[in-house]
Symmetry: C2
Subunit: 452 residues, 2 copies
């Protein structure tokens, strides 16, 4: 049995320090009292029991790839690492579900499912490193979500340690079920503030048909945005519709020498996995939409190896830029038709605050990731970058969008949450938080701020 | 503007009596103090404010087609009818969403969407009468859910009156979003116990390809169940996979003279809406699975008019049986592979308790609707029917299933809920209920019993 070792308590400050924060730049983090590497759900329950008795905050974490500070340490907290609980407990090809421990890496689950002809769709760019537990905590999205939905759409059941250390099972193994409230769905995306997830049952799909890739080069973000809106208006639901700008392509080239950045200011990558003629028709429609929106070049990729390289570059954009200095990652999501307007506003925010902003985007679902760059050690640049960040958040809300599409609120988007949600809605959040976390120990202060 | 009339207070006992219960046989109901027909969200807020102040229970209701007693009156309650709030406020073909008031009838929304080339999938058999508000309250399923999911999968945002009369907006209009807890999803399926929904934003799909229908005749429920398990094991995700037995076909024939019941003891109806060759392959696979499981006859339907008639018969089965006397409807859902075993146990429950049980089922997702029939006025038969009902509930739990797949708990499945859920999980439900309904007025006592 995997993950049945006993908990390991770590007090070495150097080791603890390496666990004290996620990948969110500039999000504050404190000094934890201890780090516990849980080996089983029983370990987790024991830690929660003790912390509830002593009033010590518990901050759960997976691989630490989060981009909002949700896993950052609080002063005096216990950091509860789930990474050693990495067992795939069951894959059932008939019921099309898998049962996993929270520390399983996303790509490892996807590979294991593929061996059974099955597919676990949610595919955040962090999939080589991030864990299913972390994906559940943030309700992670990814490239294929434009057609296949996000993590919550695939979580059938959870085992979690809640309250003062009670272990509960929420959700079900059946295709449908309405017995009681959807507490399983409530825990998904709750960023560790309502309990610690110790086991996850996910729904799977059958392996899908091979994808066709459409590539478009554009001179401007606005043109690329118009192409996205045009694909949506044409009624195509692509299996991916990604945007990468020249800043990102250049950073990838500098790192991996892929020779991508010579040809376009903005690259759009569309895919269709519809089988047969329907897929042909979708790909043709995307080419036409790209051309009509002003693409300088657009074509079906004849070579899927080349297409894979382009998607690899998309996934590498964030770490490639990070190599060049601190990157503050935005995650706004706007109605699809407003993607061109939001991209224009992002350019304006960069210009007005004299800040370098690169862009990647899950453009097909309106989820944009402007990457705000400030040279390390330049405090004035950092202030300007923060202003650009806040401006983009406010613009997204003004366009009827949301401040976070898939990264979570953590610490970085708390101001945005309060700008987006009505105080009466925040009050409902606090009521739920207080009801389910009576000891006030689960990741306190994250998401909607300190309890009142 | 639709639905902007003012509330109409009804105190005529005869009118009120006709609103005092839904379609669940034998579920108790009390005598309401008043009936209010709300014309707007403001009306709803006013009713809730007054009731919260006076401590009067509020029981919201749509069309009253529920099958679990969820909308049944409590003594002294205010029945709050949302049926007059029946406006379709917006259909946005680009964002693929619709905004509706809760009283919109399911089929009316589907028709309005179809005019834009769009599709709202959830299709409970009650779709000609039931309202979207009621569908949201129970997280209604239907025929196409085996492939396309249930109501919660389509609810993007809600406006609701909660607490002591506060109107809040939950959810979003964007494709993705993770700002705060999924309180929108929490309200879906909460059966009026957490607030009153006054507006619903639903996600839509594009119109789909025409369906192919596969028909199979079987001698026994067990053979038909084996065919269902075989389709699942073959990796086919049909767009419908419905089971109807001879009792139901006979009842439909007696009512509508459709000539359906002569040929088979059990009818299986499979559909595929996959485009092109993929759909051909799925239909062929289903025919093969039906034959291998022992179908006495199995074929692709050459005539879609005939196929439509068979599905119409499926939808008419429940009202056709109801004409013949009281019908207690089960709604258990089991893992797909256990459909044959569960069907066998249902037969056994009928035999052991000397009770006539007809069967319809969303067999493809393991959601079975044994229809337990007891002649009106025969008290001994009624006791036996209740025992068969309880036995089926317990069998479903024993097989790892759930007591309700899509009808909700209401009153009839409260015992089942407590049998299925751990007390610690019920405690979480109570904590959420108490946190979000501080006045204790929203449909109290439903779902998980009287508050403690």
């Amino acid at each position: 049995m995997p993950g049945n070792g006993s908990a390991r308590l770590v007090t070495d400050p150097d080791v603890i320090a390496s666990y004290a924060h996620d990948e969110a730049q500039w999000a504050p983090y404190g000094t934890p009292a201890a780090l516990v590497r849980a080996g089983s759900a029983r370990d987790v329950a024991r830690v929660v029991e003790v912390c509830a008795r002593l009033g010590v905050p518990v901050v759960p974490r997976g691989a630490g790839t989060g981009l909002s500070g949700g896993a950052n340490a609080l002063d005096g907290c216990v950091l509860l690492s789930l990474e050693a609980m990495d067992g795939i407990l069951e894959i059932d090809p008939v019921e099309r579900l898998a049962v996993v421990q929270p520390g399983v890496v996303n790509d490892d689950l996807r590979r294991a499912c593929a061996e059974h002809g099955l597919w676990y769709p949610p595919d955040p760019a962090s999939s080589p490193w991030s864990t299913i537990g972390g994906n559940v905590a943030t309700n992670a999205g990814g490239v294929c979500c434009v057609k296949y939905g996000v993590t919550r759409d695939y979580v059938l059941a959870l085992e979690a340690v809640v309250g003062r250390g009670e272990t509960v099972r929420l959700g079900r193994r059946t295709a449908k079920g309405v017995v009681g409230y959807d507490l399983c769905g409530l825990l998904v995306g709750s960023e560790g503030t309502l309990g610690v997830v110790t086991e996850i049952t996910v729904r799977l799909r059958g392996a899908r048909a091979p994808e066709r890739t459409v590539v478009g080069y554009f001179d401007t973000l606005r043109d690329a945005g118009a192409a996205v809106a045009s694909v949506t208006a044409a009624g195509v639901v692509p299996s991916a519709l990604e945007l990468v700008d020249r800043h990102c392509l250049q950073a990838v080239d500098q790192w991996r020498n892929m020779g991508l950045s010579a040809d376009a200011n903005v690259l759009l990558l569309g895919r269709s996995d519809a089988p047969g003629e329907a897929g042909e028709a979708e790909a043709d429609t995307m080419v036409r939409c790209f051309e009509e929106a002003g693409a300088t070049w657009s074509a079906r990729s004849a070579d899927e190896t080349e297409a894979e390289a382009l998607f690899a570059a998309r996934r590498l954009a964030y770490p490639a830029l990070e190599r060049l200095g601190p990157v503050l990652t935005e995650d706004v999501c706007v109605p699809r038709a407003l993607v061109p307007e939001m991209l224009a506003r992002i350019e304006r925010a960069g210009a007005e605050h004299d800040t370098h902003i690169a862009n990647i985007a899950h453009a097909g679902d309106g989820n944009l990731h402007p990457l705000i760059i400030a040279p390390a050690g330049d405090d004035a640049a950092r202030v300007r970058a923060q202003r650009a960040f806040d401006r983009i958040v406010d613009d997204a809300i003004a366009l009827g969008g949301t401040v976070t599409g898939e990264h979570g609120v953590g610490l970085l988007k708390r101001r945005g949450l309060h700008a987006e949600l009505d105080p009466a809605v925040v009050a409902l959040h606090r009521a739920v938080k207080n009801a389910l976390d009576p000891a006030g120990i689960f990741n306190p202060g994250k998401v909607f701020g300190p309890p009142t």
